[in-house]
Amino acid sequence: MNSKTPVIQLKNVSKTFGEVRSLSEVNIEIYPGEIVGLLGDNGAGKSTLVKTIMGFHQPDEGGEIWFKGEKINEWNVAKARELGIETIYQERALCEQQPIWRNMFMGREIKNKFGRLNVKQMKSEATRLMSEHMGFTSTAVHPDNAVLTMSGGEKQGVAITRALYFDAELVILDEPTVGLSLSETKKTLDFIQNIKKSGRSAIFIDHNIFHIYPAVDRMIVLDRGKVAGNYKKSDITMDELIESMYRVARTGSIKE
């Protein structure tokens, strides 16, 4: 694949809920091996954008989603995941009464060619992933344990490991550090660097510019459903970025 071909590209994507326009004519593209930070105030449309990329929301008429240079017509979550987009949602997207292994393989269960689930393999894979990738020391990592017995960081671990397992081309992290301890946050930020090292892409959403700025290659600022700014990290210092974020919040425009 040509590295100039974006992994994912949104063309003129708008999303309206009743009277509320959450996204308006958004154009973005994410290239292979690129970590893009998505910044914006509450209600700027960050989560709507993520859910539209994932196919959870359908874009309004006229919006197009292109994956690796191909226009995708019937976009839905199952298809997005099949093509290699995984998201670590703000709300974790776990089914807490269910055991870890069911959460790990939620929506993409391992089955044989007759459709019979391979429960044994899912359990052993879940165990392997939890200990190898997350390095959990608590007893809560047994694959049969219900997720509700785990701590917040461990739950996040399940969500991250799940995204990692399926070798995603593009990983979207929607405020992954909310509610995490310092060491858990560091682990998550390391995880983002590993995505880049393996040549894959990521979209990193966070309120905290101090988390975003060191981790990303490019930053997109979203304001009231519109792309208000798009900066390469080499073109802007953290102070300038903070300054322009304030300006956007006040005036709705990135320019002075």
Partner: protein, 334 residues
Amino acid sequence: MSENKDSKVKNNAARPPSFWRRFGMQFGIWSVGIFMWLIFVFTASEAFTSKDIYLAFASSTPLFALMAIPLTLIVITGEIDLSFPAVMALATATFAKIYSGTGNIWVGFIAALIVGTLCGYFNGWLVTWFGIPSLVITIGTSFLFRGIELAWMNGSGVGLTDDKLLGVANLLVGRSFFGIANQFWWTILATLILWFILNRTQFGAHVFLTGDNKTSAQLMGVNVSRVKRRSFAIMGFFAAFAGLVASFEVSYFWPTLGEGLLMNSIASVFLGGTSVFGGIGTVTGTFVGSFIIGAINAGIVASGINAFFTQVFFGLVIILSVIMQAVISKRIKR
């Protein structure tokens, strides 16, 4: 992954959940069953030590157990179906009409199963398409299906004593192995099939996820509407089958078929440890729950207690079991 080298992987003592945590609920159901049985063995030892009463359980309990078992799936998805007794009747009416019209048993039989499945699918479609709570909409469809059946049959029943029907009657409700009713084996088969569907297919996995947290399931690509529609369709299929079994058991199709089975089926599901909030449940629990309900019915009469007390006993057992489950699940969460 390199960043975790410093973490203590070697101390990663992955212990399985305790026996209590994993099987507490099942353990509770079985204890209720055994406890009840012991009470009856002492209070009505004559009846409960002869095999006749067990043969009676094996013939009467399947009439609602056959529907309680698929109902488990619907309850796990967080929905409920109140229309299956009417589906039983409408599907069996289809059989009676087609058989009397064409004389072909198997066409009638398959048509009945198809009608049942479609009724169930219709329920599921109403629930998922319009987002109406199933508790409400299936009251509506219950009247609808029952009304269509009564109007179609003109309110009258049909005898199923034709010689040509002997074969299918034997297959469904004949007696085999020491006089055990065949419907008992059908119930075992239904339990096995639905256990497999629930625990070893992707659809079954999605049933749990749908009932546990619908939004999470959708975010991860589970088509929760399709899961619900299919669960209702399975319910309809089994309701039709149970309708045929119940009618052949008495060699007569009553237009009121199914009345009185609703509460027994629902009670069996909850007694069996399925969570009313969805996400948790087992078909084996429902199977045991059904036989506890069946035993209460027969046990009260056999113990010589006034039959009017049946409902008192019934109520107590159900309330106590549900309280016990609530306590157990609280302890499991800790």
